[in-house]
């Protein structure tokens, strides 16, 4: 056996090259690629108006909170591995965090179960003061490297009094994030539940406050019927309104977003959420190592096959 005749055989060279190239695989060749990772904290409004059924799924009416939960659970699947998701709820005038961000792929089951368990009955108090809630949320996330995703329908209860507008300038632009408006444009009745969670029809006009009765009215006292500075600062007329019905208060949420340096997006379908979240502004550069051994193995396979071609 001599080597020399083999050196003239192209098959020998192909085989040797295939083996050499394949052996590169055992050094674990990797290419690194830029990946966009996200660190999101979802804060979900769980006030009663979020029970309003103005979304549709499979021809069935679906409550806003249910729709948000569905959209979130689908979004979990779309986020790239290595992204992190935290969850919190908002009611009354503040929000609370259930957990700090957890990695989505290893913690998928846990995050999914927690989202599925979101419920309006988690609320520890009943008001819905969204501006205060947003302020408390922004203060909470101020020093954390997290992107806020605040879901709300913008319906304050009792309705906000422009005279006592909250000043959000202290937290403006401190936190990146987006306010996601939830709900339809038409007024819809808000389902009412009793203490045991049984559904009891809808809220009626007399069930809800139609104006804030705190402090003084924002109107000129001369324009208020029956005004009395001490005894009737809001006048003698009973407040009327349509606060027992709910719609998405988009302009209010847009205004809150502008004042706090957040973006505003509307939740129309589950894709709209993905567009709102997976954007460059929220992405954190992460490096993903991609195994590139397939290139070497593929080349080896081609070389090997070439031996048999002719």
């Amino acid at each position: 056996m001599t080597i020399t005749p083999n050196l003239r055989d192209y098959r020998f060279w192909l085989l040797a090259a295939a083996l050499l190239i394949l052996s590169a695989v055992f050094f674990h060749p990797q290419t690194s690629a830029q990946a966009s990772l996200y660190r999101l904290t979802f804060i979900v409004d769980i006030t009663r108006s979020m029970n309003t059924e103005d979304y549709q799924l499979d021809q069935q009416p679906l409550g806003r909170l249910q729709f948000v939960k569905q959209a979130l659970r689908r979004e979990l699947l779309k986020l790239p591995c290595g992204s992190q998701v935290g969850l919190g709820v908002f009611t009354e005038r503040r929000s609370t965090l259930l957990f700090e961000p957890i990695e989505v792929c290893s913690g998928f089951a846990e995050i999914d179960a927690a989202i599925a368990a979101l419920d309006w009955r988690m609320a520890w108090a009943a008001d819905s003061r969204i501006a205060s809630g947003l302020l408390s949320t922004l203060e909470m996330l101020k020093d954390k490297d997290q992107t806020l995703v605040f879901f709300s329908d913008g319906q304050e209860a009792p309705p906000p009094n422009p005279r006592y507008k909250l000043d959000l300038s202290a937290v403006k632009d401190q936190v990146k994030g987006v306010i996601v408006g939830v709900g339809g444009e038409q007024l819809s009745p808000i389902p009412k539940f009793d203490a045991k969670g049984q559904r009891q029809g809808f809220y009626k006009p007399e069930d809800v406050p139609h104006r804030s009765s705190f402090g003084e009215s924002d109107l000129n006292p001369e324009k208020i019927q029956g005004y009395n500075a001490r005894n009737a600062p809001f006048g003698s007329d009973a407040a009327t309104g349509d606060e027992h019905m709910s719609r998405l208060h988009e302009s209010y949420l847009r205004q809150l977003a502008a004042e706090s340096g957040l973006q505003y997006r509307r939740l129309t379908d589950t894709d709209s959420l993905d567009n709102a979240l997976q954007q460059a502004e929220f992405a954190k550069p992460g490096i993903q190592n991609i195994d590139s051994s397939w290139r070497f193995a593929g080349l080896a396979l081609l070389l090997l096959a070439a031996i048999y071609i002719r």
């Binding site: 020998f12 055992f26 935290g86 961000p101 051994s293 397939w294 396979l301």
Partner: protein, 327 residues
């Protein structure tokens, strides 16, 4: 054992395995008349073997390229551990120190802070436990299901660093904690670890419901009561018998109620962060009943092994090539 493929379509490359079967891949040497050669089983076997080497090499490469992997497996094991539900009080007063003051800068620790630090340590010590987290204030908050994902549990415990919520509604919190054990096999210890700094009166309706739930679920209860200095303790009997009622001393009455449940129950009065440690140690020591659990073996990549196999085949082929007869 379950095989899976990352890119099943690559398997179409297996068609290439036909190549070595129909072609030898060697130099054809001219021979005057083949029919004159006697049939030689050994040669035929060797020729078949060489073709097989080619098939195996191509097959190995293709499988590797298709990203063969072993699916995530669950291996049943028996160890020592428990299913633990941490039920954390998120009422306002948890933000105060053990002395009942708002914590100031001189290294004083709020009750919530002390609890958080110890619970995090506790989680790290319990290797095989499934731990779930629930919180309660005016209403119960579901946080995490029973899970072995320690990072997630830490994330939930850390989130309690934020200011607490409203009131203390312990009965609803307890019912939620007990629901965690629904549809879970009874194996190992089942523990509800209640961490609170106060109690509230439990109304008779929920009292009856809780009695039943505790019985059915076979749960043992550990109550870490973060007592504020000078507040009535669990074991204190008031001097004035008129004060001995649930409204005046809800903690004592909750303790009596837990005692009357006839379940394994232990209460700890932690007046200092050190006493909380005691409770955690006790659980570590006592609650180690044999536990059936499933250990998750993550998905294993097999492609490197396929490549290694193919490389060996290639090496053999190269050896064969070197032995080739040259005219």
């Amino acid at each position: 054992m379950n095989l899976g493929l990352e890119y099943p379509w690559v398997l179409a490359g297996l068609l290439l395995c036909l190549l070595p079967i129909f072609r030898l891949g060697a130099v054809a040497n001219p021979y005057p008349w083949q029919a004159i050669l006697p049939p030689d089983p050994l040669s035929q076997a060797i020729s078949g073997l060489i073709r097989l080497l080619g098939v195996l090499a191509i097959g190995g490469l293709t499988l590797g390229l298709a990203g063969a992997y072993l699916q995530e497996q669950q291996v049943e094991r028996i160890g020592h551990g428990a299913h633990i539900v941490m039920l954390l009080d998120r009422s306002n007063s948890m933000d105060n120190t053990f002395a009942g003051k708002a914590p100031d800068a001189q290294g004083e620790e709020s009750k919530a802070n002390a609890a958080r630090r110890l619970l995090n340590q506790f989680v790290d010590h319990r290797q095989h436990d499934l731990i779930g987290v629930a919180e309660y204030s005016t209403s119960p908050l579901f946080v995490l299901p029973l899970t072995e994902n320690k990072a997630a549990i830490h994330a939930a415990i850390d989130a309690t660093a934020l200011p607490a919520l409203a009131y203390t509604n312990v009965s609803k919190g307890l019912s939620m904690a007990l629901e965690f054990f629904d549809s879970r096999p009874v194996t190992g210890s089942r523990i509800v670890l209640l961490v609170s700094d106060g109690a509230a009166v439990i109304d008779p309706d929920s009292e009856a419901a809780l009695r039943e739930l505790f019985k059915q679920r076979q749960v043992s209860l550990y109550w870490v009561f973060l007592r504020t200095a000078n507040s009535p303790g669990l074991f204190e009997i008031p001097d004035d018998p008129r004060d001995d009622n649930a409204q005046a001393m809800p903690e004592r009455y909750l303790h009596l109620f837990f005692n009357s449940l006839h379940i394994p129950y232990k209460a700890y009065e932690a007046e200092t962060p050190g006493a909380l440690q005691q409770a955690v140690d006790d659980i570590n020591r006592l609650e180690n009943r044999p536990l059936h659990y499933f250990e998750r073996i993550p998905k294993q990549d097999l492609s490197t092994r396929c490549y290694a196999f193919a490389a060996v085949m290639l090496l053999l082929l190269l050896g064969v090539k070197l032995c080739e007869a040259r005219p």
